[in-house]
């Protein structure tokens, strides 16, 4: 047993000495009785210590179990909360996607409208340009054209 893990160094030392005494065996009956009496005292003491430590260890286990149960409850509560938040995020994501789609549709419509406006403006420009040309530059043709339209020779 390493020194670090030995929680009973004095007891271990006593045991070693007792073992040596038993192995040597060169003691008188009185000395044996004395050694045995010391052994009983030490054993009794050790038993009391073990009883105290066992009681405390049981108390610690009980405390740990309570703490574990409390942690489990908190874990479940957190899990429930996380689940709720995840659902909220999903709903919001759907909302965002829907808004994005609506925006895209709107952009499409705006694009088409813009294109139509450009075409109309271009047509208008052409018509105005022709009109101006015939009104101010080639007036004879214009008069001929109007007469033709009205059926005047």
């Amino acid at each position: 047993m390493s020194q670090k893990s030995n929680t009973f160094p004095e007891e271990t030392e006593f045991l070693k000495k007792a073992r040596v005494t038993a192995e040597e065996g060169a003691l008188s009956p009185d000395q044996w009785r004395n050694e045995y009496s010391v052994l009983i005292t030490k054993y009794e003491e050790l038993l009391k210590i073990v009883q105290v430590l066992t009681t405390q260890a049981t108390q610690l286990e009980s405390k740990l179990e309570k703490a574990r149960a409390q942690l489990e409850l908190q874990r479940k509560a957190l899990s429930f909360e996380v689940e709720g938040l995840e659902k909220q995020i999903q709903v919001q994501q759907k909302e965002v996607t829907k808004k994005a789609q609506e925006r895209d549709v709107l952009y499409d419509q705006m694009g088409r409208t813009r294109m139509m406006l450009i075409v109309l403006f271009s047509v208008l420009v052409v018509v105005v340009a022709f009109t101006m040309y015939y009104l101010f530059i080639d007036t004879d043709k214009m008069i001929t054209f109007v007469k033709k339209v009205r059926g005047i020779q």
Partner: protein, 124 residues
């Protein structure tokens, strides 16, 4: 003799052994992996102190939590104090505990029953 002061950590208690006043304290939480290693300094210091102690020695313990190895080390400290008491020196142990902590009170009672030294239970 020099005083022994060990600052607390998250796993070890605060230790103040004042040889000038004969007032010793161990407070906090004691859950070191190597409890024997930690308490050896205290036990060695006490061994030295017990050779010529002051007229009165008071040892105050106020622990909120400790592991089984620490408990055995505390018993070793108590045994040293008990020896001093049996050698005719005035020694007393004060076991302070949170009045809501029944387990700690019970632990104090267990120690009290095990020892032949004045052992006072002090609820706080």
């Amino acid at each position: 003799m020099r005083n022994l002061v060990i600052e607390p950590t998250s796993k070890t208690p605060k230790v103040i052994l004042n040889a000038d006043l004969g007032i010793f304290e161990i407070t906090g939480r004691s859950i070191p992996e190597d409890a024997i290693g930690f308490y050896r300094k205290v036990l060695d210091w006490l061994e030295e102190y017990s050779k010529s102690p002051l007229g009165e020695t008071i040892f105050k313990f106020q622990l909120e939590y400790f592991n089984t190895s620490s408990s055995k080390c505390l018993l070793d400290i108590f045994r040293k104090l008990e020896r001093m008491h049996k050698n005719g020196h005035k020694v007393s142990i004060r076991w302070h505990y949170d009045s809501d902590d029944e387990d700690m009170a019970e632990t104090g009672q267990d120690y009290q029953a095990l020892l032949d030294v004045p052992f006072e239970l002090v609820p706080v």
